[in-house]
């Protein structure tokens, strides 16, 4: 009994550990650099090696948002349509094949997607866009958006599909009885009934895109800049953290400490999204007997 309680306690201790580590080192960071939180979040200059170093992470936040928005534009519609197809349209046998395939896709490590962006997506973008006069950099945000988008499709489709197929059959039958077509049943009956689950899966997928690291490091590069051009290199918060660890920053230096502060910002953003997602799912769930 004590052992079992200890096991459960480890999960709580992990959370406490994350908060403690990020919190204490973030405080060290702000003490060491004398920056204010406002300068940190809203500053546009990220020059850890300059003298004095400057840590404004707005370019990182912007880079992260660019990836999150771009990949959502791909993943949310495709994921939702897949979920509707699997739950409403697919014949039983086809569904039995498609569902495990999507699960398999979800199990592929992100490093593989990153490699694919370099090997396949970026050269394809160059081939398509450069003839019409657009300059595509080797590391670019669009390529990262595409692979991250593909990566989070299974998440949207499988979570949404669970909710859509849980909508009771009686609702569908009633609508068909009134003469509705399959399209009308799917979009006016099933989708609204499962909306809380769909929205919650959307939020979780966005949170996943924000926390994604390897695909973004390999595809989008390590150049922090505020740009609207998705064909140039950017840097996300996760990529910055990897960049600092693989660089020369010595333990205790402001640059080293900054990785904890950026990690804290990342943790707060993803935790907020996850909590909102859980809240939407519970609060707005339609309960059927």
């Amino acid at each position: 009994m004590a052992f079992l309680f200890g096991c459960a306690a480890i999960t709580v201790i992990t959370t406490a550990g994350i908060v403690l580590v990020l919190g204490s080192e973030t405080i060290h960071f702000f003490r060491a650099t004398g920056e204010s939180i406002l300068e940190f979040i809203c500053g546009t200059q990220l020059e850890p090696e300059a003298v004095p170093p400057r840590f404004g992470i707005l370019p990182l936040i912007w880079g992260t948002m660019l990836i999150a928005i771009g990949s959502s534009l791909i993943a949310l519609p495709i994921g939702l349509l897949s979920a509707i197809y699997l739950s409403e349209y697919a014949p039983r046998k086809l569904r039995a094949v498609l569902k495990p395939t999507l699960e398999l896709l979800a199990g592929i490590p992100t490093i593989v997607y990153g490699y694919l962006a370099l090997l396949l997506v970026t050269p394809a973008l160059k081939g398509i866009l450069e003839p019409i006069g657009l300059q595509v950099e080797t590391f670019n945000a669009l390529s990262a958006c595409i692979v991250v988008g593909v990566m989070i499709i299974p998440m949207v489709s499988s979570l949404s599909e669970d909710v859509l197929s849980a909508v009771p059959r009686g609702l569908r039958e009633a609508a068909y009885g009134l003469g509705a077509t399959k399209f009308e049943v799917s979009t006016r009956i099933v989708l609204p009934a499962g909306l809380s689950g769909v929205v919650s899966s959307f939020i979780l997928a966005i949170s996943r895109a924000i926390g994604e690291t390897m695909a973004v490091v390999l595809a989008a590069g390590l150049r922090p800049q505020l740009t609207f051009n998705p064909l140039t290199s950017i840097e996300t918060m996760t990529a910055y953290i990897v960049g600092v660890t693989s660089g020369e920053a010595s333990a205790g230096s402001p640059e080293y400490l900054s990785l904890f502060a950026v990690g804290m910002a990342l943790f707060v953003i993803t935790l907020t999204l996850n909590v909102i997602s859980g809240f939407v799912l519970r609060r707005y769930r339609e309960v059927y007997q």
């Binding site: 349509l81 199990g107 490590p109 370099l118 396949l120 593909v150 077509t181 926390g211 660890t245």
Partner: protein, 308 residues
């Protein structure tokens, strides 16, 4: 009695109803098939890159070469031996830590605490941990296991211990959630029958609940471990080094891991290294596929036996 006047929008025969439906169905089908298409392109591209790199040799021969050679400054002789051995070490350490702890936590939540505040708090905590980005676990591992907040004699340094514990914490919530789901499928009548015969709570769990939930638990555990195998970012944080030329001797050795080596080769601009990276990806995918297939076989066998 006169019938109620029809609403002006009542138009059961309108054209759009007949056209929109099939278009929508087709769009859904196309969206769903993107997954399958992407999976085939992905595998095709990686295999093609390996074939291009093998220069006339067989793919299996190339993979065998990659499996047996260490890192090298020339792409022709570079391989993943150190990474594969490191990843297997990590797998063992992660399993030794997270399987007992994960199952223990799940049994505690499902079988020992009644629904109340403690259970709600732990449950919410686990759900949130499952959504924490893997790189944040890397930061935790760096501060806690690698550096121990600067207390040198407590710190593991960038060793297999640090990597294994970090990945262990990372997949812990996944194992807890999967085990809980498996425990919930065990019918209550089983527990009540055993208790009625005088079994203690622990005897009920050990002799009846765990054995009958075992296939579900195993499936969840294997899927969680396969997630640990593919993780790269946290390992970069806790010091899986780029250039390791010796195999690890024990858990306190320095190490590298297969996905970390793939990352290092993929970064190189030389296309020959790209082919080496593709070979590493095939090795990684083969390992993952074997694990996933095992999980599916266990799940299917269980589904059949419980029906019969």
């Amino acid at each position: 009695m006169t019938p109620a006047p029809l609403s002006p929008s009542y138009e059961p025969e309108r054209q759009s109803r007949r056209i929109l439906g099939p278009i929508f169905g087709l769009a859904c089908l196309v969206a769903t098939s993107t997954g399958v298409v992407v999976l085939s392109i992905l595998l095709g591209a990686v295999v093609a890159a390996v074939i291009r790199g093998s220069q006339g040799g067989s793919v299996l021969g190339t993979l065998g070469h990659l499996l047996t050679s260490m890192q090298s400054s020339t792409p022709e002789s570079a391989g993943f031996r150190a990474g594969v051995v490191g990843s297997l070490w990590l797998l063992g350490l992660v399993a030794a830590f997270s399987i007992p702890v994960g199952i223990g936590a799940a049994v505690f939540l499902e079988e020992y605490v009644s629904a109340g505040r403690i259970r709600r708090i732990i449950q919410l905590n686990i759900a949130n941990l499952a959504g924490v980005p893997s790189i944040v676990y890397g930061i935790l591992g760096l501060a806690l296991f690698v550096r121990a907040f600067g207390y040198k004699n407590l710190a593991f340094g960038p060793t297999l211990w640090a990597g294994g514990l970090t990945l262990g914490l990372l997949i812990l919530p996944v194992i807890v959630i999967a085990t809980q789901e498996a425990l919930r499928t065990v019918p209550n009548s089983l527990r009540q029958a055993a208790m009625a015969l005088g079994a203690s709570r622990w005897q009920v769990v050990r002799d009846h609940v765990l054995p009958s939930a075992l296939p579900g638990i195993l499936t969840g555990v294997i899927l969680a471990l396969s997630r640990a195998i593919g993780e790269t970012a946290p390992l970069l944080m806790v010091g899986a080094a780029g250039s390791i030329l010796r195999l690890p001797k024990g858990p306190s050795s320095r190490y590298t891991a297969l996905p970390v080596e793939i990352y290092n080769y993929a970064k190189e601009p030389d296309p020959k290294y790209q082919a080496v990276a593709a070979g590493g990806i095939l090795l990684l995918l083969a390992l993952l596929l074997t694990m996933n297939a095992t999980a599916i076989v266990i799940r299917n066998r269980y589904a059949r036996s419980s029906r019969g």
